[in-house]
Amino acid sequence: MDPRAAASRVLARASGRDEGELRPEFDLVADLGIDSPRQLELLIDLEEALDTEISDEDAAAMETVGDVLDYAAGSG
C-alpha cells in the first residue's frame, strides 16, 4: 500500500473520522482530539503500517495531519 494512504488510514482510525474529512492543516490534538494516550496508539499503528521505526525527533515533530502524511511519504 502507498505509505501516504496507509498513514491516512491510521489517522482515520485514531481520530474516528473518515479519511476524506482529514485535512493537512488539522492539528492532531486541537482539531482531531487525539490526546496523549491516543498519540501513542497512533505512533505504534503508524510504525506497524509503514514497517519502520519512528525516531524521537520525528515523533515529536508530528503535530498535524500533514506532518504525519509527509513523514509517511518520506519513509517509503
Binding site: S36, P37, L40, I44, E47, I54, D56, A59
Partner: protein, 222 residues
C-alpha cells in the same frame, strides 16, 4: 569554578555507588503472591508499583527479574532525581529510557513499547511516574498494556525502617539492611480491541490494587 566542575562527576559517581550499595543491602522479608510474580518472568510483561517504591522495587529486580535472564527496562525523567535513578538503574544492568509527559513523552512511550514487544523486555512500570501526580496512574500505562498485550502485574512494597525524600512522590528509601515486604496481585490484561471504557476501568482498577497491595505489604511487616 574548575574545582567545582571537576568535583561534580566524582560526587555523582559517589552518590550512585552509595545508592546502589544501599539498595543492594535490602533483605526480602516476606513475599505474598509469588505465583503472580512468576507471570512477570515470562516477558513481555510489566511489574507495576507506585513511584514512591522505586528504590525498594530494585530488590525484586535483583532477586527475581535479573536472574531470569531477560532484559529489564524502566522509564526515568530528565530531572535531577531521574538522572540519579537512571544511574542507579544502569548500575544494576537495567535498560533506561528517558522522558516524561512534558518532555519527549510520546517518543519515550514508543520506546517502552518497543522494549516490550521487540526486545521482549520486562518493564518496571511506575504508572504515576516519572513526574506525578503521585498515586494517579497515567493512561499511557494502560495504552502500553493494550497495544502490547503485556500483562500489568501490580505490587506493593514496604520497608521496616525507612525515610521519605522531599521529592514529588516522597520516595521511600530503606535504611541499610532493612527488611522489605512485597505483596503481588493479579495481573491486569488488556488487548487492542479493548474499548475506552474498559481502559479507563483498568486504569482505576490498577490504582486501587496498588493502594491495596501497598497496605498489605505494610501489614506483612508486623
Amino acid at each position: 569554578m574548575k574545582v567545582r566542575g571537576a568535583a561534580l562527576p566524582a560526587a555523582a559517581v559517589a552518590v550512585r555507588l552509595l545508592a546502589a550499595t544501599l539498595t543492594a543491602s535490602y533483605r526480602l522479608h516476606r513475599l505474598e503472591g509469588a505465583g503472580h510474580l512468576d507471570r512477570v518472568l515470562d516477558p513481555p510483561a510489566m511489574l507495576a508499583c507506585w513511584h514512591e517504591q522505586l528504590a525498594l522495587s530494585l530488590l525484586l529486580v535483583r532477586r527475581r527479574l535479573l536472574p531470569a535472564g531477560g532484559p529489564v527496562s524502566i522509564l526515568s525523567s530528565h530531572s535531577a532525581d531521574g538522572e540519579l535513578a537512571a544511574r542507579v538503574a544502569r548500575a544494576w544492568g537495567i535498560r533506561v529510557t528517558r522522558g516524561s509527559a512534558s518532555r519527549g513523552g510520546r517518543a519515550a512511550a514508543l520506546t517502552l513499547y518497543r522494549e516490550l514487544v521487540k526486545h521482549r523486555s520486562t518493564l518496571l512500570l511506575m504508572p504515576d511516574g516519572p513526574r506525578g501526580p503521585a498515586h494517579a496512574p497515567k493512561a499511557g500505562s494502560i495504552v502500553l498494556a493494550a497495544m502490547s498485550g503485556a500483562p500489568i502485574v501490580p505490587a506493593g512494597l514496604a520497608a521496616s525502617r525507612s525515610l521519605r525524600l522531599k521529592s514529588w512522590d516522597r520516595m521511600i528509601v530503606g535504611a541499610p539492611c532493612t527488611r522489605v515486604a512485597v505483596a503481588v496481585g493479579e495481573p491486569i490484561v488488556l488487548d487492542r480491541r479493548s474499548t475506552d471504557g474498559q481502559r479507563e476501568a483498568a486504569r482505576l482498577e490498577l490504582g486501587a490494587r496498588l493502594d491495596d497491595l501497598t497496605a498489605r505489604a505494610g501489614r506483612l511487616l508486623s
